[in-house]
Every structure is written in structure tokens, then in C-alpha cells.
Symmetry: C2
């Protein structure tokens, strides 16, 4: 009976989607009824009866609820799919407007200050990291070395870009832990050297007791690296991927990773 859980989760999600607590609770309550009065809603949600009216009026203006003006007033939620679609569209529109607005804003360049070496950037979130990974592969000029520690980090888009890199004579070397994936990658990227990653020791959860694994490890042209790690994370239940990427041949971090990858990993390739 994790129905309670669903119930609460729905309320939370609605709030994250911009509804107030009372609005969210009232909507979920209405979802459980074919229709309802303020009193009924108040009974099964925990919204004070006198506040149900305000909440429902707001929901009505958002297109999520219909109101029957009688005495007592009766309220009815639109279907779940209709509600979802309404909300989805609302945000879709906002994101589109945002994109447009941002493009129109003129850049401000206060000071020339483009020191390009020794950068080390931190970033988080799977999609941001995926995107940066692809970008770095696209930029590659000479050599790409990539260790994949997790099947989900190997996407079709990445595959394409690796292929493209290979096609323009970039040397592509890929290390993979899982054997099944290794075979698949070898098949899909005939130009690349695919080898068994000697990386297992990095993901030593047994010893350290933490649940962090290295998911991606990328070295481009010997002067740019990206490392991402993945936490199952604290009871929160929400997982998270974090990464750093660094540029500059003489960047300390880059140097360490370069050394690591060349000595610890590439020895397997030639062998």
C-alpha cells in the first residue's frame, strides 16, 4: 500500500509544477472523486474548508478544474491526461519563450579576460555532462581516449560523434569494463580500438564503502579531460552525476589523468 506514497508524491509534483500546497491537495482530492463539494474536498484532503474555494478558483483559471455554480458549489477535476497535457503545454511554451528571449539579449563584454589555459570546470546533471562530453569529442583534433564505466553513458549520439571523429582521422580509443557492452561497441565502432578497461580498481566501493562510481573518463588531444562520477546518494533517493572537466596540457589535473590513462590503461591495448 504505497498508495499514500503516490498520493504525497502527486502533491509534491504539483507543487513543483507551480501550484500552492492547498491547490495541489485540492486537485488531488478532486482526482479521487467524480465531483465534490468544498466540504468533501476538505474532508479527504487536509485543506481547511474555507480555503478550498480560493484554491479551486485558481485551479479553474489554470484549466484543471471545472466549477458548477450551484448551492453548494460542486467541483470536478479534468481527466488526468488532460491535466497533464495542460501542464506540459504551459511549460513547453515557457521554455520556448525563454529560448527566444535569451537569444535576443545583446551580449555584454565588460572586460577582455579570456585566459584559456588551466581551466577546471565543475558541472552536474546527466544531461549537462553528456552534452559537454559530446562537445569535447566533436572538438577533438588528434586523439580521443574514453573509458565508459556504465552502459547508460554510451548513447547513440555519442556513438555517432565518435564515429565522426574516427572518420576525420582522430585516433579513437575506448575502454569498457562490462564485457557485453565491449563487444557491442567494438561492432559499432570498427575504427576504434576497444579494450578492457583496467579501471575496475577505481570503482572500489568494497573498500571505501561509498557508492560512488566513475562513469566517464575522457581525454581529448592529451590536453583536455572530463571525469564524471555517479552517486547512488543519501537516503534522498535522488541520484546525481557530477563531473569536472579541465583544459590545458600543463594543467595539473589533466596531467594526472593523462598519466593515469596512458600507463594504467593503454598498456592493455598494445598487449
Amino acid at each position: 500500500m504505497n498508495d499514500l506514497s503516490n498520493h504525497e508524491q502527486a502533491i509534491e509534483l504539483l507543487q513543483e509544477l507551480g501550484l500552492k500546497e492547498y491547490e495541489a491537495k485540492a486537485f488531488v482530492a478532486l482526482t479521487r472523486l467524480p465531483q465534490g463539494t468544498a466540504k468533501e474536498i476538505s474532508d479527504i484532503s487536509e485543506v481547511p474548508r474555507t480555503r478550498v474555494y480560493d484554491a479551486v478558483r485558481v485551479l479553474e483559471t489554470k484549466g484543471l478544474v471545472e466549477i458548477q455554480h450551484a448551492n453548494p458549489q460542486r467541483f470536478r477535476a479534468v481527466s488526468i491526461d488532460e491535466a497533464a497535457e495542460t501542464l506540459r503545454r504551459e511549460y513547453e511554451d515557457r521554455v520556448d519563450s525563454l529560448r527566444t528571449s535569451l537569444r535576443e539579449i545583446e551580449p555584454a563584454v565588460p572586460a577582455e579576460n579570456t585566459e584559456v589555459t588551466h581551466e577546471v570546470w565543475a558541472l552536474s546533471g546527466g544531461s549537462a555532462i553528456t552534452s559537454r562530453t559530446q562537445q569535447l569529442v566533436d572538438e577533438s583534433d588528434d586523439e580521443v581516449i574514453l573509458v565508459i564505466g556504465d552502459e547508460s553513458a554510451y548513447t547513440p549520439e555519442l556513438q555517432e560523434r565518435l564515429q565522426a571523429a574516427g572518420d576525420r582521422d582522430v585516433s579513437v580509443v575506448i575502454g569498457i569494463t562490462e564485457e557485453s557492452l565491449r563487444e557491442r561497441v567494438q561492432r559499432e565502432l570498427p575504427n576504434a580500438k576497444v579494450f578492457a578497461s583496467g579501471l575496475e580498481w577505481l570503482n572500489s566501493s568494497a573498500e571505501t564503502g561509498d557508492e560512488t562510481v566513475i562513469r566517464r573518463l575522457l581525454l581529448v588531444d592529451r590536453n583536455t579531460i572530463l571525469v564524471s562520477s555517479f552517486h547512488e546518494d543519501l537516503g534522498e533517493g535522488h541520484e546525481h552525476e557530477q563531473a569536472v572537466f579541465g583544459r590545458g596540457f600543463d594543467n595539473g589535473l589533466v596531467a594526472i589523468v593523462r598519466r593515469l590513462m596512458y600507463t594504467g590503461l593503454l598498456s592493455n591495448v598494445e598487449a
Copy 2:
């Protein structure tokens, strides 16, 4: 130079998408720079320098900003498309979860109280109204009379459903004010009787001075109606469509509209 406008609009949109004011301002500021320090961000946004750090950290965890841990720290926004995509996905996921959660919640039926006649429901928002209109057409059993006061109210989806109604021997009658649209509808719905709406007098903005127009007027099986009106609305600039729909042959509202449509409008059809 409504660039200011774009600037402010972007900030507002970001807040509607869940960012705090400082976070939104900082992000927009970063969008205008290839990269920036806390001071630079503070200068071109109106975020106190000491709070730029908090804001940017939050942005980083959302995958919108990258951080360079140096002294001074440097920040960089991801590309506009990347940011938009990240936000879009975030909400897409939430809506999907919401749909799932809502489906799982068991219904609660506190009291049998399903009085089906004499309903009059109020609803707002173009999409909710469109959806209800289509649903009513789908339910039609015998006769559909629809007056369209606005080209945008005649969508391909609606056309399909009217077609389908006609195919199952429902009598479809459509009134339209604009001549150009009338020809098109007649062409697309050969089964339907399309006529010049005698409805102009309803949209008497000249006399009443208000900017409200009747957008849709629907009568289904002589016992269910839907009326929607559209306001250009107060300086707010945000337009809004509102509607009522009612059920029950002996429902007063339904009776009035039925009478109106039969006498005032349908006389044209036979003529």
C-alpha cells in the same frame, strides 16, 4: 530597444520555471558573458555580490552553469539551447511522474450524490475548452449545432470529430461569420450544413464597449450546450477564454440557448 523587455522577460520566465530571483538574474547575466566572476555578474545583474555564489551554486546543481574553482571563481552558463533542453526535460519528467502517481491513487467515494441533470459548469483556458468541446461532439448522438465565431476555434482535431459525428448519422450544422472560413469549412465537411451565422449581433462590441466576443456556441442533442467567450482583457495583456457548459434538456440555460439557436440561427439554414 525592447531588449530590456527581453531581458526582463527572460528573468520572469526563469522564475516561473522555478528559479529564484537571484538565480534567474545571475543566469541571464552569465548568458551575456562568455564567462564571469561574481563581481562581473553582480555588476550587470542586480544581484548583491555576496549572494552570487549561492545563486550560481544552485544553478550548477541544475545543470545550467559550470563553475571554475579558481581564485577568483569563474562561472559560465551552458548554451541557451542546452539550458532550454535541460529545463524542458525537467518538467517533462515531472509531468510524466505526476500522471503515473495520479493514476495509482485509489478513488474515494464518500457519498452517492450523482445528480446528473441541471449541471452548469464553468471552465477557463483555451485548451480546456477545446478539449471539452471535442468531447461533447464525440458524445453526440443525434444532432450537433455549432457556431464558430473565430477562425482559431476551428482546428483540424475538431474537424475530424465533426466528420466522425456526421459519419455516424449525427446531423451536423455549423454557423460561421467569416465568409472565407465558411467556404473552407463547407469544403472540408461536405456532410454538414454550413450557413452564415446570424450571430453578429451577439458580438456587439460597438454598443457595449466591451471587448468580449463569443467564440464558440455548441448545442448537442438539444440537451447540452457550451458557450465560450474571449476577452482581449484588461491592460494585463494576457487574453483569456472562458466558458460554461450545461447539461439537461430542462436546464434553464440550455433551454435559452436552444431556443436562441433554433429561432435566431437555424432559420437561415432552410432559407
